[in-house]
């Protein structure tokens, strides 16, 4: 008898995905479906020939909002809930490393988000097809970038979850995600607040994940070409951040005394 690292990680991932499904996380898709239907029907009558753009904007924004909420609020419970409820204890006695446990949790929630985003994309493309007779597959590039951003949010939530309670982790994660969306403000801080030292601005800019770069909604909706090289670099950036964040989480979690 023996199990490989991958087997164990996948076992935890599968269980985590099952948990999110049974805890009815995917019900948010119902709201999304309603939102898409409504926007598809109503918008055309209201705007001045803007319906296609508006449907795309609503669809992508909803994906962003729902996805981020799930990533943060389910993500912060991934580890802290298990510690608080002590459901982790029987698992650690088995040949499951703490790092494997974390990776499995991350993968499980990541997979749930993938399912969520895929379903929403299908819904959006269907709505576009129904209202304008044309489904723009270029949207999928924005969806992919958005998904990378969501994975980052999960990793952040996971990190804070290993450090503190669910509530504090939720607050911290939300703050960092919001700060990350203001990366352009941080970058331009020198113009707004010249007194701030340069090293501080740099530290802040590179220290907080830049969520803005994963936001390709504007270029995609306006039909700007988004090169595969851009997507490639975004993927690498995401991987780099993921390894930093999950690596930190693993280090923090390894030596921690559980109650």
């Amino acid at each position: 008898m023996g199990s490989s690292r991958l087997t164990r990680v996948l076992a935890v991932a599968a269980n985590t995905h099952r948990e999110t499904v049974r805890e009815r996380v995917l019900y948010n898709l119902v709201f999304f479906a309603i939102l898409m239907t409504l926007s598809g029907l109503l918008v055309g009558d209201l705007s001045v020939q803007q319906d296609e753009k508006i449907v795309k904007d609503i669809g992508l924004a909803a994906m962003d909002v729902f996805g981020t909420l799930i990533a943060i609020f389910i993500g912060v419970g991934l580890v802290s809930k298990e510690i608080e409820r002590r459901s982790l204890h029987p698992l650690l006695a088995k040949p499951l490393g703490r790092g494997e446990f974390l990776l499995g949790k991350f993968a499980g929630l990541g997979f749930t988000l993938l399912v969520n985003v895929a379903a929403m994309s299908a819904g959006l493309l269907l709505t576009l097809l129904a209202t304008r007779g044309r489904a723009d597959l270029g949207l999928l590039k924005a969806v992919y970038a958005l998904f990378l951003g969501l994975l980052l949010a999960v990793a952040l939530a996971l990190l804070f979850s290993t450090l503190t309670s669910s509530v504090m982790a939720a607050i911290c994660t939300t703050c960092v995600v919001v700060a990350g969306r203001f990366s352009d403000v941080i970058h331009n801080m020198k113009q707004v607040a010249p007194g701030v030292p340069g090293w501080f601005v740099h530290a802040l800019y590179y220290g907080v994940p830049n969520f803005r770069v994963f936001d390709l909604k504007n270029p995609v909706v306006y039909g700007d070409p988004v090169g595969w090289d851009v997507l490639g670099w975004l993927t690498l950036t995401a991987l780099a951040w993921l390894s930093v964040l999950i690596g930190c989480a693993m280090l923090a979690f390894r030596t921690r005394d559980l109650q």
């Binding site: 008898m1 023996g2 199990s3 490989s4 087997t7 269980n15 099952r18 204890h89 088995k94 040949p95």
Partner: protein, 324 residues
């Protein structure tokens, strides 16, 4: 990782274990939970780990399982040091007041546990079914765990500790929350494990359970090991007194024998508590008065009495420390 741990070493070796916790919110002090604890458990024995609440039993188990890290000391399980994962394939653990996932069914939980050991699908499903039947949960196989009572969760905890057919099983308060049927079940499981040559290490504060099941025990108090050894060794010196039952045909005498330190009257019978040294004189006294000696029983000091003798409570709800 499929080799069995057959290298003749002790099942569990603990040496010089120290663990302290910070207590308090603003001003933090260190409280010693384990103080230079050393013990060893032989393969194939049922070892009782005894002590009142707060004595450090659960802390010891948490250190062994890797849930907390000790400040000092070493632990080897089945010959392997704590840090190596190999021994975990051959160990099982039932935590105190276990909590499992609400949204799973017991079968799913056992299946998940089995996956972590790398058991093949058919094997783990078969074992899951067998274990559920063994612990009496086969009819609740597909009931969500959120509906489980404390006793049912405890039984599932026992089942998941055995999913990998372990060589050594660590049970933390296994009888807690169980009705008499459940307790009998746990006893049967432990005896069965012993029969199959497995090692059982279980902690409890219910002494009669330990007396009934254990080959050897360790007594813990205030984080320190007080005594360890065979039960009959620990208690052998402690035949405290004898109980003598005397029946009277006619009228019972008005007085009591000199050697009896206590007397209770049960209808036509007397029950006397007699020191061992005074036994003969009391018997002669009874016979002289035409009493009928019905029985003479040695009353040994129970583990409980031993406990109260050895330990003293510092304050009503505080930790128990050795009396010295």
């Amino acid at each position: 990782m499929s080799h069995r741990m057959t290298n003749g070493s002790a099942a569990l070796e603990v040496s010089g274990l120290r663990k302290s916790y910070k207590v308090g919110h603003i001003v933090q002090k260190r409280r010693l939970a384990l103080d230079e604890l050393s013990l060893s458990v032989e393969r194939g024995e049922v070892f009782g780990y005894l002590g009142p609440n707060g004595s450090g039993k659960t802390t010891t188990l948490k250190v062994v399982m890797g849930i907390v890290r000790p400040d000092a000391g070493s632990v080897t399980v089945l010959g392997s040091p704590l840090g190596e994962p190999a021994w975990r394939y051959h160990a099982g653990y039932l935590p105190e007041q276990p909590y499992f996932y609400d949204y799973l069914t017991p079968f799913e939980y056992l299946d998940y546990s089995g996956r972590l050991f790398g058991l093949a699908t058919a094997t783990r499903r078969r074992r899951a079914d067998e274990l559920l039947e063994r612990v009496g949960l086969d009819r609740s196989r597909d009931v969500a765990l959120r509906r489980f009572s404390k006793g049912m969760s405890q039984r599932l905890g026992l089942a998941q500790a055995l999913i990998n057919d372990p060589e050594i099983v660590f049970l933390d308060e296994p009888m807690s929350g169980l009705d008499p049927i459940g307790r009998r079940l746990v006893r049967d499981v432990i005896m069965d494990l012993k029969r199959r040559g497995k090692t059982v290490f279980f902690s409890t504060h219910i002494l009669p359970d330990a007396e009934a099941l254990c080959d050897r025990v360790a007594l813990l108090g205030g984080g320190r090991l007080l005594r360890a050894g065979r039960l009959d060794e620990i208690l052998s010196l402690d035949v405290s007194h004898l109980e003598v039952l005397i029946g009277w045909h006619g009228a019972a005498p008005a007085d009591a024998p000199a050697g009896a330190r206590d007397r209770s009257v049960l209808g036509e019978r007397w029950r006397l508590e007699v020191e061992e040294a005074s036994l003969v004189s009391v018997l002669e006294w009874a016979v002289a008065r035409r009493g009928r000696v019905l029985s003479v029983q040695p009353i040994r000091q129970s583990l409980e009495d031993y406990f109260f003798k050895e330990l003293v409570a510092v304050e009503p709800s505080g930790p128990w420390v050795p009396r010295d």
